[in-house]
């Protein structure tokens, strides 16, 4: 028997082959123009006008705030999963403990809410 990780590893290699194979098939089937395409064909699409200024600029800080709150909550989810699996064995102590943990997070969410981090401006 293959181990689980070996199975996943082999499957990952096979899974990469699928889109790569599709790209190779498309490469074999599609027409290849004799002359290189002119510059106008390769400009970034912006509804027919030339693009002004660079695209890779600084972004709205809102995204950053959401990312920060997301990090806190995602770590919480990682902590909750093992607790949820063993919930029925751990008894009252773990339940109360988790209530406190969720409580702290709710306070954190409330604070972010109060400070306006959840507003999309």
């Amino acid at each position: 028997m293959l181990s689980h990780s070996a199975t996943i590893g082999i499957f990952l290699l096979l899974a990469v082959c699928f889109p790569v194979g599709a790209m190779i098939a498309a490469w074999m089937l599609r027409p290849k123009p004799k002359t290189p395409p002119d510059d106008q064909k390769l400009v970034p699409y912006e509804c027919g006008v030339d693009t002004i200024g660079p695209t890779w600029i600084r972004f709205k800080p809102n995204y950053f705030l959401y990312a920060l709150i997301f990090l806190a909550f995602d770590v919480e989810v990682v902590f909750l999963f093992p607790w949820a699996v063993k919930f029925q064995m751990l008894g009252l102590f773990a339940f109360v403990e988790m209530l406190i943990f969720i409580g702290i997070l709710i306070i954190g969410l409330w604070y972010a809410w109060k400070e306006g981090a959840l507003e999309w401006r």
Partner: protein, 348 residues
């Protein structure tokens, strides 16, 4: 009847035995079987998507009172095949300002992740490529990687629509990631396992949609947002962002993104029916037919929602996740905990 039920399991057992009788070591026989399973999964994906895209257009046509595709073949069933052939033979265009490496890897990464999701899905009794003990966690963590593929596509394109669309999808997907995982916590607490076969077995008497109705609804909403489907398709709102992160993609690269989105839809619908609708369990029909029926019902529900609700504004979209879904799912976890204490009397 019993023969039909265990058809695929018997076939694979017989195949392994046949390979071993030829003197192939067991590990190699397993690897060859894995290759065949992979080819079957690719076949399932391609067949399902061909049907699904046709179905989506027919359903949307029915809801909007128009015929939908009806030229190629009876009721337009060959329309998807024609579209696929057209996309396959399109000229390959890579715009001049792109970050080529990221631009090229993004669709391949997206499709790879989507195919990997199928490895843990139970497609029938004993029909699972690997029965991981962290199966559910594996599915969620892999599913969240699609965010990175989308961001790569949007960033690599060096196009303003693409970057805006990608940024919006990332903001939306990370916001809905948390209610998605939190709403599954109730199911895990009742089952006491992350193994998907255990979760199916635990629904022997009663489906989890009856024990966890709130979790089902929140998971459905969060999954719609994770899949970037309407009414949460703000990132690729075609009326204002042309096609979001996919704007610069054409031909087969675009087709890969498109395929991967539908592959994800099938996988998430199958997971939804596994977690809440009893999985492959059902009377009379064989188990692998039941999971197909349930998956298609869930997918129809996704389409119905997409074509009947108007698109949600970006600020409402974000506020809904953080101010409604997350508190509701947290309360659901606590309520599930109390419910388990009262009705099962555990730990006391």
């Amino acid at each position: 009847m019993q023969k039909i039920e265990t058809l695929f399991v018997d076939l694979s057992d017989w195949f392994i035995a046949w390979l071993q009788s030829l003197g192939v070591p067991l590990a190699w026989a397993d690897a060859i079987l894995l290759l065949i399973q992979f080819l079957c999964i690719v076949g399932i994906i391609l067949a399902n998507i061909t049907i699904l895209i046709w179905l989506e257009r027919k359903v949307s046509g029915f809801i909007q009172q128009r015929p939908g595709p009806n030229r190629l073949g009876p009721h337009g069933v060959f329309q998807t095949v024609a579209d696929a052939l057209k996309l396959l033979t399109k000229e390959d265009i890579i715009p001049s300002k792109t970050d080529r490496l990221i631009f090229i890897t993004a669709p391949i990464l997206f499709m790879t992740i989507s195919v990997m999701l199928y490895i843990v899905l139970p497609m029938g009794k004993d029909m699972q490529v690997v029965d991981l003990n962290v199966g559910l966690f594996f599915f969620i963590s892999l599913g969240s990687l699609t965010t990175i593929a989308l961001l790569m596509g949007g960033w690599g394109s060096n196009n303003k629509w693409s970057l805006l669309g990608a940024m919006r999808s990332v903001a939306q997907m990370i916001s809905y990631e948390i209610p998605l995982a939190l709403s599954l916590m109730g199911v895990v607490m009742i089952t006491g396992s992350l193994r998907l076969s255990d979760i199916v077995a635990a629904q022997d008497n009663v489906w989890f949609i009856l024990l966890q109705p709130i979790a089902f609804i929140t998971y459905f909403i969060a999954a719609t947002a994770e899949l970037n489907r309407g009414p949460f398709d703000m990132p690729e709102a075609e009326q204002e962002l042309t096609a979001g992160a996919y704007t610069e993609y054409s031909g087969m690269r675009y087709a890969l993104f498109f395929l991967a989105e539908y592959t994800n839809l099938v996988a998430v619908s199958a997971l939804l029916s596994t977690l809440f609708l009893g999985g492959w369990q059902g009377p009379w029909l064989p188990s692998w037919l039941w999971i197909i029926i349930k998956t298609y019902l869930v997918m129809f529900l996704f389409m119905w929602v997409k074509w009947t609700f108007p698109r949600i504004r970006m600020d409402h979209l974000m506020a809904f996740s953080w101010k409604v879904l997350i508190p509701v799912t947290l309360v659901n976890i606590v309520a599930t905990g109390f419910g388990l204490y009262i009705f099962k009397g555990i730990g006391g």
